[in-house]
């Protein structure tokens, strides 16, 4: 199994939006979303819902569902890796 840190706040500071991504360690769409953020210099906080029960509850309350990834961009909830919607929310223009 792939191992990743439970939380991984990267160092990019270009984005002003507060971005939280709820993930599981083996979810490929979570991984694709994180790669998208890194490519676009978007800072994000990652919460691994497989281990962090509070994060799991928060994710379910926010998104009203249990699929990952769930991405919170300044309070707007995106379910799944929706590249187009994220680009709009983060003003990435792609």
């Amino acid at each position: 199994m792939r191992s990743e840190s439970i939380t991984d706040t990267n160092k990019f500071i270009d984005s002003m939006a507060k971005v939280t991504i709820y993930t599981t360690p083996t979810c490929v769409y979570c991984r694709a979303a994180k790669e998208f953020f890194k490519e676009n210099n978007v800072a994000y906080e990652e919460k691994n819902v497989a281990e962090d029960e509070q994060a799991r509850e928060d994710m379910i309350v926010k998104s009203e569902q249990m699929g990952v990834p769930v991405i919170d961009v300044d309070g707007t909830i995106v379910i799944g890796f929706d590249r187009q919607k994220l680009s709009e929310l983060l003003s990435l223009g792609s």
Binding site: M1, R2, T24, P25, T26, C27, V28, Y29, C30, R31, A32, V49, A50, E51, E53, R56, E64, Q65, M66, G67, V68, I79, R83
Partner: protein, 315 residues
């Protein structure tokens, strides 16, 4: 610009085809909607030669890197239409269109659903189709897996790392999976229970999944309380491009091709799970093999017929 070859699909078959096509010096564009296809979500793969164990996503990332290094161009996008025009093909995505002398359809297949009322409404709310994605969300919970093949047993073994209790619901007398995966499942003991010769009749829940109604009672009850349901009951072929191009299908609805992946439409070559070769035995290695064969036939076709497309494209 006209590409020698456009490959639709970025899973094991498409990426393998791209690697081979570049070795044949075909100017190749690869377009895919979901990088890595089914392999990317497969979790740990232990039967890919050369790797004792490799994560499916990592394997696809390595294939992509190899295809890019060989010279292939890869774009993300959903192909919605393929049209044959004289000796050329027009490939349309939602945003653009490209010309090609030949096309490889490495389009995979669609995950089969149970087609029960409430299934769609509760998708993501207890009903899931990607165990490696959403399985870990059910840590310490009770879940069910529907299916009887290797993917479902492998899925149960994955879930066992997280869930407290797992029911494998199969309509067969017993699941049929690789012996190594069956042994692992048995090693989980009482944590995994097999409900044989049983089908899910109803999916019950309003805002989220609450229980399943079974075709055969379990411990005197027809209703089984579960937090999550994972569905691994196989795949159905996607006929979209077959209809558009007039491709023949086999008796199961998969793209019909000869041993060299040639179809009834010259210049169109299928590969991977879109083809039902090997009697339905679908693996990464078979998908990759069919991709290599399709690229070889595409090379042969472009070498003999490519100039006809250049003539039409410039006319």
């Amino acid at each position: 610009m006209t590409y020698d070859l456009v490959i639709i699909g970025t899973g094991a078959a498409g990426l393998s085809a791209a690697i081979y096509a570049e070795r044949y010096k075909l100017n190749t564009l690869l377009i895919g909607e979901e990088f890595g296809g089914e392999t990317a979500t497969a979790g740990a793969i232990e039967n890919w030669p050369g790797n004792k164990i490799i994560d499916g996503y990592e394997l696809m990332a390595a294939m992509k890197e190899q295809a890019l290094a060989a010279g292939a161009e890869i774009r993300e996008g959903r192909v919605i239409r393929v049209k044959k025009k004289d000796a050329c093909f027009d490939v349309f995505t939602e945003k653009e269109s490209v010309h090609a002398k030949a096309v490889i359809l490495a389009i995979g297949a669609q995950r089969r659903h149970l087609n029960l009322p409430n299934e769609k409404e509760l998708t993501g709310k207890g009903v899931h189709y990607c165990v490696t994605c959403d399985g870990p969300v059910y840590a310490k919970k009770t879940v069910a897996m529907v299916g009887g093949g290797d993917s479902s047993v492998k899925g149960v073994n994955f879930l066992a790392e997280y869930a407290e209790k797992i029911y494998l619901i199969t309509r067969e007398k017993e699941p049929h999976a690789e012996p190594v995966n069956m042994e692992r499942m048995k090693a989980h003991g009482e944590k995994v229970e097999i409900l044989a010769e049983t089908q899910v009749k109803e999916i019950v829940g309003e805002k989220k999944l609450e229980s399943l109604v079974l075709s055969r009672s379990y411990r005197g009850e027809e209703r089984l309380a579960v937090d999550g349901l994972f569905v691994e009951i196989g795949f159905d072929p996607d006929k979209t491009f077959a209809d558009q191009l007039g491709l023949e299908l086999d008796e199961r609805g998969y793209l019909k091709a000869d041993n060299m992946m040639r179809t009834n439409v010259p210049g169109v070559f299928p590969a991977g799970d879109a083809v039902n070769h090997f009697e339905g035995f679908k693996q990464d290695i078979t998908a990759a093999a069919l991709g290599a064969v399709a690229a070889t036939s595409a090379y042969d076709y472009v070498r003999k017929n490519g100039s006809r497309c250049e003539f039409h494209a410039s006319a």
